[in-house]
Protein backbone atom coordinates (compact mmCIF):
# COMPACT_ATOMS: atom_id res chain seq x y z
CA UNK A 1 0.00 0.00 0.00
CA UNK A 2 1.28 3.44 -0.90
CA UNK A 3 2.07 5.52 2.13
CA UNK A 4 0.91 9.08 2.38
CA UNK A 5 2.17 11.76 4.67
CA UNK A 6 0.11 13.00 7.59
CA UNK A 7 0.01 16.40 5.98
CA UNK A 8 -1.27 14.99 2.73
CA UNK A 9 -3.85 12.88 4.56
CA UNK A 10 -5.14 15.86 6.51
CA UNK A 11 -5.34 17.95 3.42
CA UNK A 12 -7.22 15.23 1.58
CA UNK A 13 -9.64 14.88 4.46
CA UNK A 14 -10.27 18.57 4.60
CA UNK A 15 -10.93 18.76 0.92
CA UNK A 16 -13.15 15.69 0.91
CA UNK A 17 -15.24 17.19 3.66
CA UNK A 18 -15.45 20.58 2.07
CA UNK A 19 -16.29 19.42 -1.43
CA UNK A 20 -18.60 16.54 -0.56
CA UNK A 21 -22.06 17.02 -1.96
CA UNK A 22 -20.99 19.72 -4.40
CA UNK A 23 -22.43 18.89 -7.77
CA UNK A 24 -21.06 21.00 -10.56
CA UNK A 25 -21.00 24.77 -10.39
CA UNK A 26 -22.75 27.68 -11.97
CA UNK A 27 -20.78 30.21 -13.95
CA UNK A 28 -21.83 33.57 -15.28
CA UNK A 29 -23.75 33.05 -18.47
CA UNK A 30 -22.98 29.39 -18.41
CA UNK A 31 -24.72 27.23 -21.01
CA UNK A 32 -24.11 24.10 -18.99
CA UNK A 33 -22.66 23.13 -15.66
CA UNK A 34 -19.22 22.50 -17.13
CA UNK A 35 -19.07 25.22 -19.75
CA UNK A 36 -17.14 28.28 -18.70
CA UNK A 37 -17.91 31.72 -20.01
CA UNK A 38 -15.28 34.12 -21.27
CA UNK A 39 -14.55 37.50 -19.71
CA UNK A 40 -11.91 40.06 -20.43
CA UNK A 41 -9.31 41.15 -17.88
CA UNK A 42 -11.52 43.78 -16.29
CA UNK A 43 -14.68 41.68 -16.39
CA UNK A 44 -16.39 44.37 -18.43
CA UNK A 45 -16.84 42.13 -21.48
CA UNK A 46 -18.26 38.64 -21.36
CA UNK A 47 -19.61 36.00 -23.69
CA UNK A 48 -20.55 32.37 -23.82
CA UNK A 49 -18.69 30.93 -26.81
CA UNK A 50 -19.87 27.79 -28.50
CA UNK A 51 -16.44 26.39 -27.86
CA UNK A 52 -12.72 27.01 -27.84
CA UNK A 53 -10.11 25.87 -30.32
CA UNK A 54 -6.78 25.50 -28.56
CA UNK A 55 -4.40 25.94 -31.48
CA UNK A 56 -1.26 23.84 -31.36
CA UNK A 57 0.40 24.85 -34.60
CA UNK A 58 -0.04 26.93 -37.70
CA UNK A 59 -0.86 23.79 -39.65
CA UNK A 60 -3.50 22.89 -37.11
CA UNK A 61 -5.04 26.35 -37.44
CA UNK A 62 -4.97 26.36 -41.22
CA UNK A 63 -6.57 22.93 -41.40
CA UNK A 64 -9.20 23.90 -38.86
CA UNK A 65 -10.18 27.03 -40.72
CA UNK A 66 -10.41 25.16 -44.01
CA UNK A 67 -12.67 22.51 -42.51
CA UNK A 68 -15.00 24.81 -40.59
CA UNK A 69 -17.13 27.76 -41.54
CA UNK A 70 -18.63 29.17 -38.36
CA UNK A 71 -17.93 32.40 -36.56
CA UNK A 72 -14.55 32.70 -34.88
CA UNK A 73 -12.75 35.30 -32.79
CA UNK A 74 -9.09 35.16 -31.78
CA UNK A 75 -8.29 35.64 -28.11
CA UNK A 76 -4.94 36.50 -26.61
CA UNK A 77 -4.68 37.59 -22.99
CA UNK A 78 -8.14 39.19 -22.98
CA UNK A 79 -6.75 42.60 -22.03
CA UNK A 80 -8.91 44.58 -24.45
CA UNK A 81 -11.57 46.65 -22.76
CA UNK A 82 -13.54 47.00 -26.00
CA UNK A 83 -15.72 44.09 -27.18
CA UNK A 84 -13.27 42.73 -29.74
CA UNK A 85 -13.54 39.15 -28.52
CA UNK A 86 -17.14 38.35 -27.53
CA UNK A 87 -18.73 35.78 -29.83
CA UNK A 88 -21.30 33.04 -29.75
CA UNK A 89 -19.08 31.18 -32.18
CA UNK A 90 -15.69 29.70 -31.35
CA UNK A 91 -12.71 31.34 -29.68
CA UNK A 92 -9.34 30.73 -31.28
CA UNK A 93 -6.81 30.45 -28.45
CA UNK A 94 -3.24 31.07 -29.57
CA UNK A 95 -1.40 30.60 -26.26
CA UNK A 96 0.58 27.67 -27.58
CA UNK A 97 2.00 29.61 -30.51
CA UNK A 98 4.68 31.08 -28.30
CA UNK A 99 8.40 31.50 -27.89
CA UNK A 100 11.27 32.87 -29.91
CA UNK A 101 11.27 30.86 -33.12
CA UNK A 102 14.42 32.29 -34.70
CA UNK A 103 16.55 35.39 -34.51
CA UNK A 104 19.23 37.30 -36.36
CA UNK A 105 22.04 38.78 -34.33
CA UNK A 106 23.09 41.09 -37.14
CA UNK A 107 19.75 42.71 -37.92
CA UNK A 108 18.47 42.40 -34.34
CA UNK A 109 15.28 40.84 -35.56
CA UNK A 110 13.50 38.01 -33.80
CA UNK A 111 10.61 35.89 -35.04
CA UNK A 112 8.18 35.28 -32.22
CA UNK A 113 5.13 33.11 -31.78
CA UNK A 114 2.11 35.42 -31.86
CA UNK A 115 0.69 33.96 -28.67
CA UNK A 116 3.75 34.91 -26.61
CA UNK A 117 3.06 37.30 -23.81
CA UNK A 118 5.15 40.45 -23.98
CA UNK A 119 6.23 39.99 -20.38
CA UNK A 120 7.59 36.53 -21.14
CA UNK A 121 9.87 37.81 -23.88
CA UNK A 122 12.09 40.26 -22.01
CA UNK A 123 14.52 37.80 -20.45
CA UNK A 124 14.90 35.43 -23.43
CA UNK A 125 15.41 38.37 -25.77
CA UNK A 126 18.05 39.79 -23.41
CA UNK A 127 19.71 36.38 -23.45
CA UNK A 128 20.25 36.74 -27.20
CA UNK A 129 21.37 40.34 -26.84
CA UNK A 130 18.13 41.94 -27.93
CA UNK A 131 15.54 44.21 -26.38
CA UNK A 132 12.23 45.46 -27.73
CA UNK A 133 12.34 49.09 -28.78
CA UNK A 134 9.43 49.99 -26.54
CA UNK A 135 6.77 48.33 -24.43
CA UNK A 136 3.34 49.25 -23.13
CA UNK A 137 2.64 49.86 -19.46
CA UNK A 138 1.07 46.41 -19.05
CA UNK A 139 2.94 43.51 -20.60
CA UNK A 140 0.58 40.60 -20.07
CA UNK A 141 -0.83 40.99 -23.57
CA UNK A 142 0.05 38.58 -26.31
CA UNK A 143 2.19 39.91 -29.14
CA UNK A 144 -0.68 39.36 -31.57
CA UNK A 145 -3.18 41.21 -29.41
CA UNK A 146 -0.89 44.14 -28.68
CA UNK A 147 -0.10 44.63 -32.34
CA UNK A 148 -3.64 44.12 -33.60
CA UNK A 149 -4.97 46.83 -31.30
CA UNK A 150 -2.22 49.37 -31.98
CA UNK A 151 -0.95 49.13 -28.43
CA UNK A 152 1.87 51.55 -27.74
CA UNK A 153 4.29 52.73 -25.15
CA UNK A 154 5.49 56.25 -24.48
CA UNK A 155 7.91 58.39 -26.46
CA UNK A 156 7.62 61.17 -28.99
CA UNK A 157 10.20 59.47 -31.17
CA UNK A 158 8.98 55.94 -30.50
CA UNK A 159 6.19 54.37 -32.50
CA UNK A 160 3.61 51.81 -31.45
CA UNK A 161 4.68 48.17 -31.20
CA UNK A 162 3.01 47.45 -34.52
CA UNK A 163 5.49 49.71 -36.33
CA UNK A 164 8.31 47.41 -35.19
CA UNK A 165 6.78 44.44 -37.01
CA UNK A 166 9.09 43.71 -39.92
CA UNK A 167 6.92 40.87 -41.16
CA UNK A 168 4.11 38.64 -40.02
CA UNK A 169 2.34 35.46 -40.97
CA UNK A 170 -1.44 35.56 -41.27
CA UNK A 171 -3.80 32.64 -41.63
CA UNK A 172 -6.86 33.98 -43.41
CA UNK A 173 -10.38 33.01 -42.35
CA UNK A 174 -10.35 30.54 -45.22
CA UNK A 175 -7.16 28.88 -43.97
CA UNK A 176 -4.72 30.36 -46.47
CA UNK A 177 -1.28 31.17 -45.03
CA UNK A 178 0.08 34.57 -46.04
CA UNK A 179 3.59 35.89 -45.42
CA UNK A 180 3.39 39.66 -45.26
CA UNK A 181 6.45 41.88 -45.28
CA UNK A 182 7.84 45.14 -46.64
CA UNK A 183 7.87 43.85 -50.21
CA UNK A 184 4.15 44.71 -50.11
CA UNK A 185 4.17 47.84 -47.92
CA UNK A 186 0.46 48.57 -48.23
CA UNK A 187 -0.45 45.09 -47.07
CA UNK A 188 2.04 45.29 -44.21
CA UNK A 189 0.68 48.67 -43.10
CA UNK A 190 -2.83 47.22 -43.18
CA UNK A 191 -2.07 43.91 -41.51
CA UNK A 192 -0.13 45.21 -38.52
CA UNK A 193 -3.01 46.98 -36.73
CA UNK A 194 -5.65 44.52 -37.89
CA UNK A 195 -8.13 44.57 -34.96
CA UNK A 196 -8.33 40.81 -35.37
CA UNK A 197 -10.43 41.27 -38.49
CA UNK A 198 -8.22 39.94 -41.28
CA UNK A 199 -7.34 36.49 -39.99
CA UNK A 200 -5.25 34.91 -37.27
CA UNK A 201 -1.64 36.07 -36.90
CA UNK A 202 0.56 33.13 -35.98
CA UNK A 203 4.02 34.69 -35.86
CA UNK A 204 5.66 38.07 -36.17
CA UNK A 205 9.21 39.18 -36.83
CA UNK A 206 10.01 42.11 -34.60
CA UNK A 207 12.67 44.68 -35.31
CA UNK A 208 14.41 44.87 -31.97
CA UNK A 209 17.63 46.56 -30.90
CA UNK A 210 20.58 45.61 -28.74
CA UNK A 211 19.61 44.96 -25.13
CA UNK A 212 19.80 48.05 -22.95
CA UNK A 213 19.24 49.49 -19.54
CA UNK A 214 16.96 52.35 -18.61
CA UNK A 215 16.85 54.79 -15.74
CA UNK A 216 13.40 55.80 -14.52
CA UNK A 217 12.73 58.94 -12.49
CA UNK A 218 9.36 59.67 -10.91
CA UNK A 219 8.29 62.81 -9.12
CA UNK A 220 5.33 65.12 -8.63
CA UNK A 221 5.04 68.60 -10.12
CA UNK A 222 2.35 71.18 -10.91
CA UNK A 223 0.54 70.07 -14.05
CA UNK A 224 0.61 73.48 -15.70
CA UNK A 225 4.36 73.81 -15.18
CA UNK A 226 4.84 70.55 -17.04
CA UNK A 227 2.31 71.21 -19.79
CA UNK A 228 3.91 74.55 -20.62
CA UNK A 229 7.19 72.77 -21.34
CA UNK A 230 5.86 69.41 -22.45
CA UNK A 231 7.27 69.48 -25.97
CA UNK A 232 10.77 70.25 -24.73
CA UNK A 233 10.56 67.66 -21.95
CA UNK A 234 9.23 65.01 -24.32
CA UNK A 235 12.02 65.74 -26.76
CA UNK A 236 14.74 65.64 -24.12
CA UNK A 237 13.81 62.24 -22.67
CA UNK A 238 13.45 58.87 -24.39
CA UNK A 239 10.14 58.51 -22.57
CA UNK A 240 8.27 61.28 -20.82
CA UNK A 241 4.70 61.31 -19.53
CA UNK A 242 2.50 62.62 -16.78
CA UNK A 243 -0.33 61.18 -14.72
CA UNK A 244 -2.52 64.15 -13.85
CA UNK A 245 -4.26 63.80 -10.49
CA UNK A 246 -7.94 64.67 -10.58
CA UNK A 247 -9.06 67.48 -8.29
CA UNK A 248 -5.48 68.60 -8.09
CA UNK A 249 -3.01 71.02 -9.58
CA UNK A 250 -0.40 68.28 -9.60
CA UNK A 251 0.68 65.44 -11.81
CA UNK A 252 2.93 62.50 -11.23
CA UNK A 253 5.75 62.77 -13.71
CA UNK A 254 7.75 59.96 -15.27
CA UNK A 255 10.89 60.23 -17.37
CA UNK A 256 12.94 57.32 -18.66
CA UNK A 257 16.31 57.44 -20.40
CA UNK A 258 19.02 55.04 -21.43
CA UNK A 259 21.82 54.56 -18.94
CA UNK A 260 24.94 52.58 -18.17
CA UNK A 261 24.46 52.97 -14.44
CA UNK A 262 24.27 49.85 -12.27
CA UNK A 263 20.88 48.29 -11.62
CA UNK A 264 19.26 49.55 -8.44
CA UNK A 265 16.44 51.50 -6.92
CA UNK A 266 16.06 54.30 -4.42
CA UNK A 267 12.81 54.21 -2.51
CA UNK A 268 11.72 57.15 -0.43
CA UNK A 269 8.86 57.22 2.05
CA UNK A 270 6.18 59.35 0.46
CA UNK A 271 3.58 59.48 3.24
CA UNK A 272 3.50 62.77 5.18
CA UNK A 273 4.15 62.10 8.83
CA UNK A 274 2.31 65.11 10.19
CA UNK A 275 -1.10 64.59 8.61
CA UNK A 276 -2.90 65.80 11.73
CA UNK A 277 -1.39 69.23 11.44
CA UNK A 278 -2.10 69.27 7.72
CA UNK A 279 -5.75 68.48 8.40
CA UNK A 280 -5.98 71.38 10.81
CA UNK A 281 -4.50 73.75 8.30
CA UNK A 282 -6.77 72.48 5.53
CA UNK A 283 -9.97 72.73 7.53
CA UNK A 284 -11.47 69.53 6.10
CA UNK A 285 -15.15 68.72 6.26
CA UNK A 286 -16.94 65.36 6.16
CA UNK A 287 -17.93 65.78 2.53
CA UNK A 288 -15.11 67.69 0.94
CA UNK A 289 -15.98 70.06 -1.85
CA UNK A 290 -13.93 69.96 -5.05
CA UNK A 291 -11.90 72.85 -3.68
CA UNK A 292 -11.20 70.95 -0.48
CA UNK A 293 -10.28 67.83 -2.44
CA UNK A 294 -7.92 69.95 -4.49
CA UNK A 295 -6.24 71.27 -1.35
CA UNK A 296 -5.86 67.75 0.02
CA UNK A 297 -4.49 66.40 -3.23
CA UNK A 298 -2.09 69.27 -3.62
CA UNK A 299 -0.87 68.93 -0.04
CA UNK A 300 -0.25 65.24 -0.55
CA UNK A 301 1.23 65.47 -4.01
CA UNK A 302 3.60 68.27 -3.05
CA UNK A 303 5.18 65.92 -0.52
CA UNK A 304 5.82 63.09 -2.92
CA UNK A 305 9.54 62.84 -3.33
CA UNK A 306 11.41 61.79 -6.40
CA UNK A 307 12.46 58.19 -6.85
CA UNK A 308 14.90 56.69 -9.29
CA UNK A 309 15.52 53.18 -10.49
CA UNK A 310 17.76 51.50 -13.04
CA UNK A 311 17.09 48.13 -14.64
CA UNK A 312 17.04 46.30 -17.95
CA UNK A 313 14.60 47.89 -20.38
CA UNK A 314 11.71 45.48 -20.10
CA UNK A 315 11.66 45.71 -16.32
CA UNK A 316 11.48 49.50 -16.42
CA UNK A 317 8.98 49.99 -19.22
CA UNK A 318 6.20 47.69 -18.03
CA UNK A 319 4.46 47.29 -14.72
CA UNK A 320 2.27 44.80 -12.96
CA UNK A 321 -1.17 46.24 -12.36
CA UNK A 322 -2.73 44.40 -9.48
CA UNK A 323 -6.00 46.29 -9.50
CA UNK A 324 -8.21 45.73 -12.51
CA UNK A 325 -9.82 48.65 -14.26
CA UNK A 326 -11.49 49.79 -17.47
CA UNK A 327 -9.90 52.39 -19.68
CA UNK A 328 -10.72 54.77 -22.50
CA UNK A 329 -7.85 56.22 -24.54
CA UNK A 330 -7.87 58.55 -27.50
CA UNK A 331 -5.08 60.17 -29.46
CA UNK A 332 -5.28 63.77 -30.57
CA UNK A 333 -2.85 65.94 -32.50
CA UNK A 334 0.02 66.88 -30.19
CA UNK A 335 -0.61 70.60 -30.60
CA UNK A 336 -4.08 70.31 -29.03
CA UNK A 337 -3.23 67.63 -26.51
CA UNK A 338 -2.73 69.93 -23.54
CA UNK A 339 -5.92 71.83 -24.31
CA UNK A 340 -7.90 68.59 -24.48
CA UNK A 341 -6.40 67.39 -21.20
CA UNK A 342 -7.21 70.67 -19.48
CA UNK A 343 -10.83 70.47 -20.61
CA UNK A 344 -11.18 66.94 -19.26
CA UNK A 345 -9.70 67.88 -15.88
CA UNK A 346 -11.92 70.97 -15.70
CA UNK A 347 -15.01 68.94 -16.57
CA UNK A 348 -14.28 66.43 -13.82
CA UNK A 349 -13.82 69.29 -11.36
CA UNK A 350 -16.75 71.45 -12.43
CA UNK A 351 -19.21 68.55 -12.65
CA UNK A 352 -17.92 66.90 -9.47
CA UNK A 353 -17.43 63.57 -11.21
CA UNK A 354 -16.65 61.11 -8.46
CA UNK A 355 -13.41 59.63 -9.70
CA UNK A 356 -9.99 59.31 -8.09
CA UNK A 357 -8.14 57.45 -10.80
CA UNK A 358 -5.36 59.45 -12.39
CA UNK A 359 -5.30 60.28 -16.09
CA UNK A 360 -2.36 59.52 -18.35
CA UNK A 361 -0.92 61.96 -20.90
CA UNK A 362 1.94 61.22 -23.29
CA UNK A 363 3.23 61.46 -26.84
CA UNK A 364 3.57 58.61 -29.32
CA UNK A 365 5.56 58.74 -32.54
CA UNK A 366 3.83 58.86 -35.92
CA UNK A 367 3.65 55.83 -38.19
CA UNK A 368 2.04 54.72 -41.44
CA UNK A 369 -0.07 51.81 -40.29
CA UNK A 370 -3.57 52.31 -41.62
CA UNK A 371 -5.47 51.88 -38.37
CA UNK A 372 -2.80 53.20 -36.02
CA UNK A 373 -4.01 55.95 -33.70
CA UNK A 374 -0.75 57.74 -34.55
CA UNK A 375 -1.15 57.37 -38.31
CA UNK A 376 0.24 60.32 -40.23
CA UNK A 377 3.29 62.53 -40.37
CA UNK A 378 3.30 63.95 -36.83
CA UNK A 379 3.39 62.50 -33.36
CA UNK A 380 0.18 62.39 -31.36
CA UNK A 381 -0.75 63.01 -27.78
CA UNK A 382 -2.67 60.21 -26.12
CA UNK A 383 -4.92 60.71 -23.12
CA UNK A 384 -6.31 57.91 -20.98
CA UNK A 385 -9.06 57.89 -18.40
CA UNK A 386 -9.71 54.97 -16.08
CA UNK A 387 -12.31 53.56 -13.77
CA UNK A 388 -11.88 50.72 -11.31
CA UNK A 389 -13.31 47.45 -12.64
CA UNK A 390 -15.74 47.25 -9.74
CA UNK A 391 -17.31 50.57 -10.73
CA UNK A 392 -19.62 51.40 -13.63
CA UNK A 393 -17.38 53.20 -16.08
CA UNK A 394 -20.12 54.27 -18.47
CA UNK A 395 -21.35 57.54 -16.93
CA UNK A 396 -17.78 58.86 -16.59
CA UNK A 397 -16.58 57.66 -19.98
CA UNK A 398 -19.80 58.79 -21.71
CA UNK A 399 -19.29 62.29 -20.34
CA UNK A 400 -15.62 62.55 -21.32
CA UNK A 401 -15.71 60.83 -24.73
CA UNK A 402 -17.30 63.80 -26.58
CA UNK A 403 -14.39 65.94 -25.43
CA UNK A 404 -12.04 63.61 -27.29
CA UNK A 405 -14.27 63.88 -30.38
CA UNK A 406 -14.18 67.67 -30.19
CA UNK A 407 -10.38 67.50 -30.64
CA UNK A 408 -10.53 65.00 -33.49
CA UNK A 409 -9.56 62.07 -31.29
CA UNK A 410 -8.89 58.57 -32.60
CA UNK A 411 -9.75 55.70 -30.25
CA UNK A 412 -7.43 52.97 -29.06
CA UNK A 413 -8.92 49.79 -30.54
CA UNK A 414 -8.45 47.79 -27.38
CA UNK A 415 -10.05 50.34 -25.11
CA UNK A 416 -13.58 51.53 -24.53
CA UNK A 417 -15.07 53.74 -27.25
CA UNK A 418 -18.40 54.08 -28.99
CA UNK A 419 -17.43 55.03 -32.54
CA UNK A 420 -18.60 53.23 -35.66
CA UNK A 421 -17.51 53.27 -39.28
CA UNK A 422 -19.41 56.53 -39.85
CA UNK A 423 -17.03 58.47 -37.64
CA UNK A 424 -13.98 56.26 -38.04
CA UNK A 425 -13.80 56.61 -41.79
CA UNK A 426 -13.26 60.33 -41.29
CA UNK A 427 -10.56 59.88 -38.67
CA UNK A 428 -8.37 57.33 -40.45
CA UNK A 429 -7.44 58.27 -44.03
CA UNK A 430 -7.01 54.61 -45.03
CA UNK A 431 -10.06 53.30 -43.17
CA UNK A 432 -12.09 52.55 -46.28
CA UNK A 433 -9.08 50.78 -47.79
CA UNK A 434 -8.94 48.60 -44.71
CA UNK A 435 -12.65 47.82 -45.01
CA UNK A 436 -12.14 46.72 -48.61
CA UNK A 437 -9.22 44.49 -47.63
CA UNK A 438 -11.23 42.99 -44.79
CA UNK A 439 -14.06 42.18 -47.18
CA UNK A 440 -11.60 40.57 -49.58
CA UNK A 441 -9.93 38.39 -46.94
CA UNK A 442 -13.11 37.52 -45.05
CA UNK A 443 -15.92 37.63 -47.62
CA UNK A 444 -18.26 35.59 -45.44
CA UNK A 445 -17.61 37.65 -42.33
CA UNK A 446 -16.74 34.73 -40.09
CA UNK A 447 -14.41 36.91 -38.02
CA UNK A 448 -17.04 39.54 -37.34
CA UNK A 449 -18.85 39.98 -34.07
CA UNK A 450 -21.37 42.76 -33.39
CA UNK A 451 -18.64 45.21 -32.43
CA UNK A 452 -16.61 44.61 -35.58
CA UNK A 453 -19.74 44.76 -37.73
CA UNK A 454 -20.33 48.24 -36.36
CA UNK A 455 -16.72 49.23 -36.91
CA UNK A 456 -16.57 48.03 -40.49
CA UNK A 457 -20.14 48.47 -41.66
CA UNK A 458 -20.38 44.78 -42.39
Amino acid sequence: MRKISRRSFLASSVKAALFSGVGGFAVKGGASAESVSWSNWSGGQTCQPAGRYDIGSEEHLSSLLKKTSGAIRPVGSSHSFSPLVPTDGHLIVIDRLSGILEYDSETKQATIGAGSRLGDLGDPLAAIGQGMVNLPDIDRQTVAGAIATGTHGTGVALQALSACVASLRLVTPGGEVMDIDATNPDLLHAARVNVGALGIVTQVTMQNRESYKLKKREWAAPTEDILENFDELAASHRHFEIFPLVYSDYSLVLSIDETDEPIGQIEIEAVPSDDASIAESLGLSDNPTPAERRRMSNATASRIQATESVDVSHKILSNVRNSRFNEMEYSVAAEVGAECLREILKTIYDEKIDVQFVLEYRYVGADQDWLSMSYGEHSHATISIHRMASEDYRPYFDRIEPIFWKYGGRPHWGKVHSLTHKELSGLYPRFNDFMELRQELDPHGRMLNPHLRALFNA
Binding site: A11, V14, M296, N322
Partner: protein, 129 residues
Protein backbone atom coordinates in the same frame (compact mmCIF):
# COMPACT_ATOMS: atom_id res chain seq x y z
CA UNK B 1 -12.02 63.67 12.70
CA UNK B 2 -10.31 65.88 10.17
CA UNK B 3 -7.04 64.13 10.79
CA UNK B 4 -8.78 60.81 10.31
CA UNK B 5 -10.38 61.99 7.11
CA UNK B 6 -7.08 63.16 5.78
CA UNK B 7 -5.35 59.96 6.79
CA UNK B 8 -8.06 57.94 5.06
CA UNK B 9 -7.75 60.12 2.01
CA UNK B 10 -3.98 59.85 1.91
CA UNK B 11 -4.01 56.13 2.53
CA UNK B 12 -6.63 55.67 -0.17
CA UNK B 13 -4.67 57.80 -2.55
CA UNK B 14 -1.41 56.10 -1.77
CA UNK B 15 -2.97 52.67 -1.83
CA UNK B 16 -4.17 53.44 -5.31
CA UNK B 17 -1.03 55.21 -6.30
CA UNK B 18 1.16 52.19 -6.94
CA UNK B 19 -1.45 50.86 -9.30
CA UNK B 20 -3.43 53.79 -10.45
CA UNK B 21 -0.86 56.48 -10.31
CA UNK B 22 1.80 54.16 -11.57
CA UNK B 23 4.18 54.88 -8.72
CA UNK B 24 6.85 52.53 -7.49
CA UNK B 25 5.60 49.49 -9.33
CA UNK B 26 8.30 47.64 -11.07
CA UNK B 27 7.87 44.56 -13.10
CA UNK B 28 8.61 41.45 -11.16
CA UNK B 29 8.56 38.96 -13.91
CA UNK B 30 6.92 35.69 -13.18
CA UNK B 31 9.09 32.65 -12.85
CA UNK B 32 7.93 31.32 -16.13
CA UNK B 33 10.50 32.01 -18.81
CA UNK B 34 10.41 31.69 -22.51
CA UNK B 35 13.79 30.57 -23.70
CA UNK B 36 14.40 30.45 -27.37
CA UNK B 37 11.71 28.29 -28.85
CA UNK B 38 10.04 27.08 -25.75
CA UNK B 39 8.88 27.58 -22.22
CA UNK B 40 10.16 26.29 -18.93
CA UNK B 41 8.92 26.81 -15.44
CA UNK B 42 10.68 26.75 -12.13
CA UNK B 43 9.82 23.41 -10.55
CA UNK B 44 7.07 24.14 -8.06
CA UNK B 45 6.96 22.82 -4.55
CA UNK B 46 4.13 20.31 -4.61
CA UNK B 47 3.85 16.58 -4.53
CA UNK B 48 0.95 16.47 -6.98
CA UNK B 49 1.73 16.15 -10.66
CA UNK B 50 -0.13 17.40 -13.70
CA UNK B 51 -0.37 15.80 -17.08
CA UNK B 52 1.83 17.41 -19.70
CA UNK B 53 -1.03 19.26 -21.38
CA UNK B 54 -2.43 20.59 -18.12
CA UNK B 55 1.08 21.45 -16.95
CA UNK B 56 1.67 23.47 -20.10
CA UNK B 57 -1.59 25.35 -19.60
CA UNK B 58 -0.74 25.96 -15.97
CA UNK B 59 2.72 27.20 -16.87
CA UNK B 60 1.33 29.69 -19.38
CA UNK B 61 -1.28 31.10 -17.03
CA UNK B 62 -1.55 30.33 -13.32
CA UNK B 63 2.21 30.21 -12.92
CA UNK B 64 2.45 33.91 -13.73
CA UNK B 65 1.34 34.71 -10.19
CA UNK B 66 1.07 31.48 -8.21
CA UNK B 67 4.78 30.77 -8.15
CA UNK B 68 5.89 34.14 -6.86
CA UNK B 69 2.79 35.06 -4.90
CA UNK B 70 2.43 38.16 -6.99
CA UNK B 71 -0.68 40.20 -6.26
CA UNK B 72 -1.19 38.20 -3.06
CA UNK B 73 -1.87 35.03 -5.02
CA UNK B 74 -1.60 31.90 -2.84
CA UNK B 75 1.69 30.24 -3.65
CA UNK B 76 1.68 26.73 -5.01
CA UNK B 77 2.22 24.21 -2.26
CA UNK B 78 1.35 26.63 0.56
CA UNK B 79 -1.20 24.26 2.05
CA UNK B 80 -2.29 26.61 4.81
CA UNK B 81 -3.10 29.40 2.38
CA UNK B 82 -4.87 27.02 0.04
CA UNK B 83 -6.93 25.50 2.81
CA UNK B 84 -8.39 28.93 3.48
CA UNK B 85 -9.46 29.10 -0.14
CA UNK B 86 -10.77 25.55 -0.22
CA UNK B 87 -13.03 26.34 2.70
CA UNK B 88 -15.12 28.45 0.35
CA UNK B 89 -16.20 25.29 -1.42
CA UNK B 90 -15.46 24.08 -4.90
CA UNK B 91 -18.29 25.92 -6.59
CA UNK B 92 -17.24 29.24 -5.14
CA UNK B 93 -13.60 28.61 -5.90
CA UNK B 94 -14.31 27.77 -9.52
CA UNK B 95 -16.57 30.75 -9.90
CA UNK B 96 -13.78 32.94 -8.61
CA UNK B 97 -11.45 31.52 -11.25
CA UNK B 98 -13.94 31.86 -14.08
CA UNK B 99 -15.17 35.32 -13.17
CA UNK B 100 -12.03 36.67 -11.52
CA UNK B 101 -11.51 37.86 -7.98
CA UNK B 102 -9.44 40.70 -6.58
CA UNK B 103 -6.34 40.93 -8.75
CA UNK B 104 -6.89 37.64 -10.56
CA UNK B 105 -8.52 38.20 -13.93
CA UNK B 106 -11.31 35.97 -15.22
CA UNK B 107 -9.99 32.57 -16.27
CA UNK B 108 -6.65 33.39 -14.68
CA UNK B 109 -5.13 34.04 -18.12
CA UNK B 110 -5.96 30.51 -19.30
CA UNK B 111 -8.23 31.14 -22.26
CA UNK B 112 -8.28 27.50 -23.32
CA UNK B 113 -9.12 26.09 -19.90
CA UNK B 114 -12.43 24.47 -19.14
CA UNK B 115 -13.84 23.68 -15.72
CA UNK B 116 -12.10 20.33 -15.53
CA UNK B 117 -8.74 22.00 -16.18
CA UNK B 118 -9.28 24.48 -13.39
CA UNK B 119 -10.24 21.72 -10.95
CA UNK B 120 -7.05 19.85 -11.67
CA UNK B 121 -4.95 23.00 -11.41
CA UNK B 122 -6.47 23.98 -8.08
CA UNK B 123 -5.75 20.51 -6.74
CA UNK B 124 -2.22 20.78 -8.06
CA UNK B 125 -1.52 24.12 -6.46
CA UNK B 126 -3.24 23.22 -3.19
CA UNK B 127 -1.31 19.98 -2.96
CA UNK B 128 -4.60 18.20 -2.47
CA UNK B 129 -5.96 15.11 -4.16
Amino acid sequence: MKALLLRMFILRMLALAPILALLSTSLSAAESKLPSGGLSVTKPSTSISLGSEAMAKWARSCALCHITGEANAPVIGDTLEWQQRLQKGEAALLNNVVNGINSMPPLGYCMSCEAADFRVMIDYMAGVK
